[in-house]
Symmetry: C2
Subunit: 447 residues, 2 copies
Amino acid sequence: MSCPDSLLLTDLYQLTMLQAYLDHGMTGTAVFELYARRLPECRGFLLAAGLESALEFLENARFSAEEVAWLEASGRFNRRFLDYVADFRFRGEVRALPEGTAFFPDEPLLQVVAPLPEAQLVETRLINLLQYPTMVASKAARSVLAAPGKLLVEFGLRRAHGADAGLAAARAAYLAGFAGSSNVLAEQRYGIPAFGTMAHSFILAHRDEARAFADFALSLPRNVTFLIDTFDTEAAARKVVELAPGLKAQGVNIRSVRLDSGDLAGHARKVRRILDAGGLPDVGIFASGDLDEHALEELADAPIGGFGIGTRLATCADQPYLNCAYKLQEYAGRPKRKRSEGKATWPGRKQAYRRFAADGRMAGDTLTVEGDRQQGEPLLQRVMADGRRLAPSPPLEEIRAHAASQLAVLPEPLRRLEKGLEYPVTIAPALRRLAEEADALSTGSKP
Amino acid sequence: MSCPDSLLLTDLYQLTMLQAYLDHGMTGTAVFELYARRLPECRGFLLAAGLESALEFLENARFSAEEVAWLEASGRFNRRFLDYVADFRFRGEVRALPEGTAFFPDEPLLQVVAPLPEAQLVETRLINLLQYPTMVASKAARSVLAAPGKLLVEFGLRRAHGADAGLAAARAAYLAGFAGSSNVLAEQRYGIPAFGTMAHSFILAHRDEARAFADFALSLPRNVTFLIDTFDTEAAARKVVELAPGLKAQGVNIRSVRLDSGDLAGHARKVRRILDAGGLPDVGIFASGDLDEHALEELADAPIGGFGIGTRLATCADQPYLNCAYKLQEYAGRPKRKRSEGKATWPGRKQAYRRFAADGRMAGDTLTVEGDRQQGEPLLQRVMADGRRLAPSPPLEEIRAHAASQLAVLPEPLRRLEKGLEYPVTIAPALRRLAEEADALSTGSKP
């Protein structure tokens, strides 16, 4: 499939609204913010991810000549519109939470300040680029917290919703603290360590399981993991014990055996005894198969050193979308908010401040209007002006270290899987006043 | 983001197994089949989709010189492997269910016959390309069945898991019977009609809601839909009534008003009365906001003519992954199956036959080995030989007509949203015999 990275990858209304904005001279400065309306039921916090892709998108957002010609041929648009899109580039300013930052509902993940037509046009793809990595990072962080000291590997490519999702999931999981991914392109593209074992088909293609193990080990002697559940898990573990001395003599380093089905804890205990009794105490046990953070917590006491976590993570199976929005907060200097039932928003350009307790843990955030300095550290940083990044994106390792430092200072209730107390995000008086002002200014409610 | 369409978009073990296969001369003919192990709880049938992308992937699967150099530099692979991947192309044969075909667990969606290294290497991406569109088409079909005669539009791009997911969702929903999508690229790429309304931000950017309506209508007079829930839905409907005569005089065609929040049925009834009383009986009501097939069923009696269905469809929110597998069924002429706990499979090259009742409805399928002719129509068709498509892919409109004809002959219980009787898929005696033979041949179980 040829690559769908095009500015036409948007909702039609972004283009029709653009024409209306241009026709009526609505090109004043707009402020949009992208934020979560609510936490998913099963999350105590969110971890920001996807910013690098979003900034890359904004820097390179152009319509090709072919696309402009197609828009013209569609018959929907006028000359003013066509001239505008032919020259389009994003020239706005962006503030954002650095990737790896923990955040909460109503706190802007991203703020765009740009002429209204520019800020509006990029909405759909910005949400598309930020929502999914943020969901994966937020869920992956739970596995990291649930299984301290275990090797966690992202395995979700095959069931991710497409190529982009597979790649983004590997990056988001690594960012959140996973050791790596099965995804080779993620290693080539991002330097994320790739991990691999073998498939059942490899075993099945051979006439004999032991022969399959030996073939694989001799071809790839450096870090061998044998998949041992194709027929009889414990029998296969005994074969590994039998094969080990011969393989060792040929320079093979058996790193682990992998379980992928059945009662993982029960099999792990039996296999551990077989390996130990067979003189292989250093051969680890790696497990996979329908795992998520809850399964990891249940397997905490099993003799399993590493986990492949795929489908449920890469599809965010417990909550595959975030209730998030990219909303107009200010236009031409006037604060804005909508009051649709159940969807009212806080208006204006915002900043969030975070306070810390004496022990270094996060103690509470304050959401307020820009310029209203509050106690604590401001969370949003200016990352783009005139459509160009102010600095190169930080290396992934730095983002990963930032995420780790965020997880380290989460309040204790947020580190647990079950939902505990909500993290306090206070709305500052200045923001409440602005909301009242926005309501008073809006004539929409006075027909 | 540069496009992730690369053969490195795979699991590392596909490459390490490839090296082992090559080293040990395991290049005999393999048969792999991709199928669903189980239906999701909330589905009575699946609708095949994604085949066109899968065949395009197979036809174009190559490693670039840069990728081969990267693989060499990784230090993991030997010369034999590197020479092989430098020249790699897929030369296998493919049988598949035509897109739009209804199918059931254990029935192959796709069958690959190729030298083992080729058939194995393409596993990850084939699942990735077929699973998601099939899930979306299967779910979209439920909305089509739940809301006969309504205009259904796919709105999910922003919350889809990436760019390619957004595009694939638009195509899969259209294929299943939706009228179109908000996704402009889907129109440019596939000819899928794009639909659009306006956003709350458009209303908010204006000082006055009525002014926003008029601005939009005069810029895009042909098929106007006003979003009326930003402040007070019924008040906004009355504004539309007031504006209508003036707009009509200026050539504006008001097609509908859109509701996006609150009690959709309640608002729709009130708005309908306002529009009718105001002389606008032809202005329709379009609704959106967290909709899925169950919401459509509940809204069946509301005066709503069309629906925008986004997030829940494009993320397959009720079941975001399919329990599916791509399994080795035969190698070098010998049938294969694994017997991992809970994951045992039917071996061999298979074909499914479908019987029909006197009223034309589907009456039951038989799954058997290739060549064992059964009553009914064979479902899998040969679509690729020597790595090339045997015929151009059918036009999307033809696929859509095929899907419609499949939905028309679904047994009545499968047309309802709640789970009814399971559709009967019989395993033929010849396939049962082959499974026994595969078990007898396998030495894996006899350590």
